[in-house]
Symmetry: C2
Subunit: 587 residues, 2 copies
C-alpha cells in the first residue's frame, strides 16, 4: 500500500483546522448553532451543523468571507486537557457534543481546542494558528443524518476543499468542474446513451440506441478476443429453481443480495445473481477428460442483484449486470498459464482503451475467518495463494497484497483503473475457486484415469456493461474512439440538391458497417456542425456543390481539424481501417 508522507499529514491537519475555522464563522453568523462533527476528508473537510434555518448556496460566500477574516487574524489554536465533568459544563448548550462526551471512557482526560471564541471537543492535532490555512473554498451543502442514522435528526453539512497553495486549489477546482462535465449521468443523458424509468424500476437502465451501439461493440471486442484465446460461448437462463442456488451455496447466505423468489407450480424460482452455478451445470453435462481442459466457458450473462434504492448511483451501482463473465476449468498444472492468460487479457484491454493507470490487488484469507468468511480448508488456501503469487511473479505483473479480503471460496485479484482525469473505478475481480468444484461435484478424468477436481477461475475483465460504459463515458468525456462512437459519421448536405449524393455516400458507408446518419434538416450548415459536435461525432462530412461536382468529400474532425478534400472512397477506407484497428486516432 502507498505510505502516508509527512506532507500528507500536514495537509490533513490544515484541513481539519479549516473545518474548525468554518465552525467559528458559522457560530458568529448563527449564534444558536449546534455543532456535531467536523473532520478532514480527502481534498478538504466538512462540518455538520444544526442551524435555525436551511442554508442556501448564497450563504457560502458569507461564511467564506468570515473565515477569511479569521485566517487573516492568525488566531492561535490552543489545546487544553479537561475532565469529563468539566467538558459537560463547557458544552452544556451543545447536545451533540454532550452525546459524544458521554460515550468517552469515564476516567480519561478529554482534549478541547480553542481558537478565538470557538471551542471544540477534539483530539487534534491542529495548526498553530489560523493563518496556516492557505487556500480553501466551500463547495457544497448537503443533508446528513446525525451519526448517519436515518432515525436521528437531519443536520446540514458544508463541504470545503483546502490546499497548501492557491495553484493547487485552482487545479483541484478545475478537476472538479471537469469531473462534473464528465459525470456519466450527465453525459449519458446528453448523448442519449441510457435512461432510467420510474415504471421500469430503480437501478434498471434501458439502453437507448446509442448505448446499444456501444454495448454491441464492447461485446464484439470481448467475443473477438475470447475466440482468439480459445473460449467457447454458452447461454444460460436468467432464472432457475431455488434448488440450484441452495446447492451452489448462494442460498441462504447470499439471499439478501438476491431478488425475492417467484413461486410457480409449488416451486420457487430465483432470478440469477451470478452465472457460476449455471456454467457449472454445463461443465457437468458430460464426462470430462483432461483432454477437455482447460475449458473456458464465456457468456455475457445478465445477472440481477438487489442493492438498496438509496445506494444506487447512475450506472455505477445498479441492479442489473450484463457481465463479461467466464469460468475457466483447469487442472493444477494448467493454472499458472490460465491465470496469467486472464491477466494478459486485462492488459490487452487497457491498451485498447488507453487506460494508463491501474493496480492489481491480491486479497488473501485470514486464519481467523476460516469456517466463517472463508471455506475451512487452510491447506488449500495457502496453496492457491502461493499459486497466484507465483503466477503473478513469474510473469512480472505488479500487485500488492491485502490479507482478509479474499472471496469465500478462494483468493482474488481486484483490478482498479483510473480514468483519464484520475478518477478511480473498480473494474472487475479475478477469482480462484478451489471450493465450488467440490460442492457441485465437478470432476474430470486425469491422465491416469482417476477422477480429479478442476480448479475454477472466475473472471470478467470488462466488468459489466453498466459499470464499464459508466467508466468509458467519464474516461473519454463522451468523445469515444471511432469504433465505439454511437454515430461514426454525420453527413451534412449544404442544400436539398445535395441530398442525393449524400444518400449515396450514406449507403456506401453503411455497406461497410459504418454507423452513419444524414442531417437533412433545412438548417444552415453551421448549426448542423454544432449539433454533430455536441453529439461528439468523430467525422462530419460536408457535401456542397464543390463536392458533388468533384465527387469528393470535405471532412471535419470532431477535434475541429479540417482534412484536405479527398475522394469518398479514400475516406471510407480510412474510417474502415481506423475502426478495424480499434485505434484512438481519427486519421
Amino acid at each position: 500500500m502507498v505510505n502516508r508522507t509527512v506532507e500528507d499529514e500536514k495537509l490533513e491537519t490544515m484541513r481539519h483546522s479549516a473545518s474548525h475555522i468554518m465552525a467559528e464563522a458559522v457560530q458568529s453568523i448563527f449564534p444558536g448553532a449546534k455543532f456535531a462533527i467536523g473532520p478532514a476528508i480527502e481534498n478538504g473537510f466538512y462540518y455538520d451543523f444544526d442551524l435555525p434555518r436551511p442554508l442556501t448556496p448564497d450563504d457560502l460566500p458569507v461564511i467564506e468571507a468570515k473565515m477569511g477574516e479569521i485566517i487573516a487574524s492568525n488566531t492561535p489554536f490552543i489545546r487544553e486537557e479537561i475532565t469529563r465533568e468539566e467538558a459537560r459544563q463547557l458544552f452544556a448548550a451543545q447536545p451533540y457534543k454532550l452525546e459524544l462526551i458521554n460515550e468517552l471512557p469515564e476516567n480519561e482526560k478529554l482534549s478541547v481546542y480553542r481558537q478565538g471564541s470557538f471551542l471544540d471537543l477534539c483530539r487534534g492535532p491542529h495548526v498553530k494558528a489560523s493563518g496556516e490555512v492557505k487556500a480553501f473554498k466551500l463547495i457544497n451543502i448537503a443533508g446528513a443524518y446525525w451519526r448517519g442514522d436515518e432515525h436521528q435528526p437531519m443536520l446540514q453539512r458544508i463541504y470545503g476543499v483546502a490546499f497548501d497553495t492557491r495553484e493547487a486549489l485552482e487545479e483541484h477546482l478545475a478537476r472538479l468542474e471537469e469531473a462534473k462535465n464528465r459525470d456519466h449521468r450527465k453525459l449519458g443523458r446528453e448523448l442519449e446513451i441510457f435512461i432510467f424509468d420510474d415504471e421500469v424500476g430503480p437501478g434498471l437502465p434501458l439502453w437507448l440506441p446509442n448505448g446499444g451501439a456501444m454495448i454491441e461493440e464492447i461485446e464484439r471486442l470481448a467475443k473477438d478476443v475470447e475466440f482468439e484465446h480459445g473460449y467457447v460461448r454458452v447461454k444460460t437462463p436468467h432464472l432457475a429453481k431455488e434448488d440450484l442456488f441452495k446447492h451452489s451455496g448462494h442460498l441462504p447466505y447470499y439471499a439478501e443480495s438476491m431478488y425475492p423468489p417467484m413461486e410457480l407450480e409449488g416451486v420457487r424460482y430465483y432470478i440469477k445473481p451470478m452465472n457460476c452455478p449455471l456454467h457449472h451445470k454445463i461443465f457437468a453435462s458430460k464426462t470430462r477428460s483432461y483432454r477437455d481442459l482447460p475449458l473456458r466457458i464465456a457468456e455475457y450473462g445478465t445477472c440481477y442483484r438487489y442493492e438498496k434504492s438509496g445506494e444506487l448511483l447512475g450506472l455505477l451501482r445498479v441492479r442489473s449486470m450484463q457481465m463479461n463473465d467466464s469460468h475457466i476449468y483447469c487442472s493444477e498444472k494448467q493454472f499458472d498459464q490460465e491465470f496469467v492468460g486472464v491477466i494478459s487479457l486485462y492488459l490487452e484491454y487497457f491498451k485498447i482503451f488507453g487506460i494508463k493507470e491501474y493496480y492489481m490487488r491480491l486479497s488473501t484469507h485470514h486464519p481467523n475467518g476460516l469456517g466463517k468468511k472463508y471455506v475451512n480448508n487452510p491447506e488449500l488456501w495457502l496453496k492457491t495463494e502461493a499459486m497466484v503469487r507465483q503466477a503473478m511473479n513469474n510473469h512480472n505483473v505488479p500487485y500488492y497484497e491485502v490479507a482478509d479480503e479474499a472471496a469465500f471460496y478462494g483468493p482474488k485479484i481486484d483490478v482498479q483503473i483510473k480514468s483519464a482525469i484520475g478518477k478511480e473505478f473498480t473494474l472487475a475481480t479475478n477469482q480462484v475457486d478451489f471450493a465450488q468444484a467440490e460442492r457441485c461435484d465437478l470432476k474430470f478424468v486425469n491422465e491416469k484415469g482417476e477422477e480429479e477436481r478442476p480448479l475454477i477461475i472466475h473472471r470478467a475483465p470488462l466488468g459489466t456493461h453498466e459499470r464499464f460504459v459508466g467508466f468509458l463515458l467519464e474516461h473519454y468525456a463522451g468523445a469515444f474512439p471511432v469504433w465505439l462512437a454511437p454515430v461514426q459519421v454525420t453527413i451534412i448536405p449544404v442544400a436539398d440538391r445535395h441530398l442525393e449524393y449524400a444518400g449515396r455516400l450514406e449507403s456506401d458507408l453503411r455497406s461497410r458497417d459504418i454507423r452513419v446518419k444524414i442531417d437533412a434538416r433545412s438548417e444552415r450548415m453551421n448549426p448542423k456542425i454544432r449539433q454533430a459536435q455536441l453529439e461528439k461525432v468523430p467525422y462530419m462530412v460536408v457535401i456542397g456543390d464543390k463536392e458533388v461536382e468533384a465527387g469528393t468529400v470535405s471532412v471535419r474532425l470532431r477535434s475541429g481539424e479540417q482534412l484536405p478534400p479527398q475522394s469518398s472512397d479514400a475516406f471510407i477506407e480510412t474510417v474502415s481501417r481506423i475502426i478495424a484497428s480499434r485505434s484512438q486516432d481519427l486519421k
Copy 2:
C-alpha cells in the same frame, strides 16, 4: 385455404373404416374390450380401448394379422338407423358408448355401422366393404384419457397409418423414420446443442458451446441484416415493475402466461413476457419528430412466459424465449413500405436457410369480438386490415385470410414454414398495432407541427432462438451449412509427429475466425473420421507425412467426398469465402 378434394375425402373414409376394422380385430382378441372412439386423422386413424391388460408393441403384429384377415374377407359395412332406446340396449355392455348415446338429442335417429361381428355407433361414411382398405400399418400405442380429461379413466390408444397404395405407405413410413432421426431433442443431445437440467427448471434450456456458437451466428446474421435495413439496437432489462405491465395492458389480462411477481421494497416486479412495453419507453424517452420515423428498434430480448409443465416440448414449447424482436414506429404514409420491408426480410432469410415451402396467413378481427378479444375501434380495424392487404397485394406476396384470429391490438401475418422433410413449424408473427400507441401515449410531431400517433409493427422474422434452432436441427438433420456449424473444421493428425503442423493450421484457421478443433487423441485415423462424421463437421482435414512434407492439406467433406490435395492457404480461403457468403455448399 386449400380445398379438400374428392381424393382427400375418399382417403379419410378409408382411414375411418380401417379404425373400425382394427376395433373388430381387437374385439376378437380381447373379448371383454370396451370401446371409446376411433376417428380418422391425418395420414391414418386411431381407436381408444379399455382393455383387460396393457398392450405391448408385440401385440401390434397380432392385431395387424387379424385385420389382414378381415380385409381379405371383404366383409360389407352396413349402416342402420335406430332409436336412442335401441342403441342403449345394443351398447348395454359398452359404458363409453352409452355415455355418448346419452348426450345425443333425444328425438333423433342414431346411426350404427356393422361389419362382421363388430357394431359401432357412428355417423359414417364408410367404405362399402373391408377389402377397400389397401395399405395400412399400426405404428404406436399411447395412453389417452377418456374425453381428454385427466380425471377420467386412462384408455389405450392404438395409432395406425393407411394409404391407398403400398408405395404411398412405404414412403410415409420412411418419412416417419427420417423425422424420428431428425427429432431436434435427439439431435440436440447427440450434437451437444442444449440440455435441460432438473435443478434449473422445465422449459429453460441451457445452451452448450455448440448451441452457443449457433446462437452467435444467428444473432450476427440478424444484426447484419437489420443494420443494413436501418434498424438500431437497444437493450432493456428482463424485469420491470408491475406498473409498467398494468399500463401496457398485459396485467391482469395476460397474467396467467406470466411468471408470478417478486416483491421488493413493497413493489411488485415481473420478469418480462414481451419486450414491447420497454421498447415503447425508449420511443417515449424524447420528443419525436416525423424526421425520426420510421424508428426501427431491435433487440434480441429474452422473455419468459409460463407454459404448463405438461405442455413443454423440447425447444418448441419452452418458458424462455430469446426473441429476434423489433418494433417499428412509423407514420401511416410509411406503413406500406415498412410492412413490406419486414416481409422481404422473411424472404431473405428463407433463401439463406433453404426454406422452400412457407405460407403467410393474414388474421383479421371479427365484429363480434370487438371490445372483448379485440380493441373496440371498428374503423381502425377495417382501415389497418385494408392497409395490410394492400401492402401484400402491392408487392405480390401470396397469403390467405382467416377471420377472427387477429391479435388484440391489430391484424397480423402468421408465417408457417416447412422443414426439408415437410414438417411444419410456426416461425413468427408480424403484427400491426394501432392501439398501443394510444394506450402508452406515444406520439410524434408531424410535418404540420401537430401531434400524431405512430403505427407500430411488431415483428420477429427469426422467431426465437429456441424455436428456430429446434427447426434448424430438424431441417438440416444436424448437418448445418458451414457458417452455422458449431465446429467447422476438424484437423486429424495421423500421428503425434504431425501435431505441430496441425497446430499451425489450427491457429491459421482460428485467426480467420473459423471454428476449428484438433482431434489429438492417440487413436487411428478412421475412428477419428468416424467421430467427426458423427458430429457432422463439414470439413475433416487429415494431416500425415505427405501433407507435412508438401505443405498441403487433404480434405474430406462431410458428404464423404475427398477434395484434391491443396495448399492450406487455398483451403482457408475457400472456407472463409463459403462462411462469408452463408452458402449451403461445401466447396
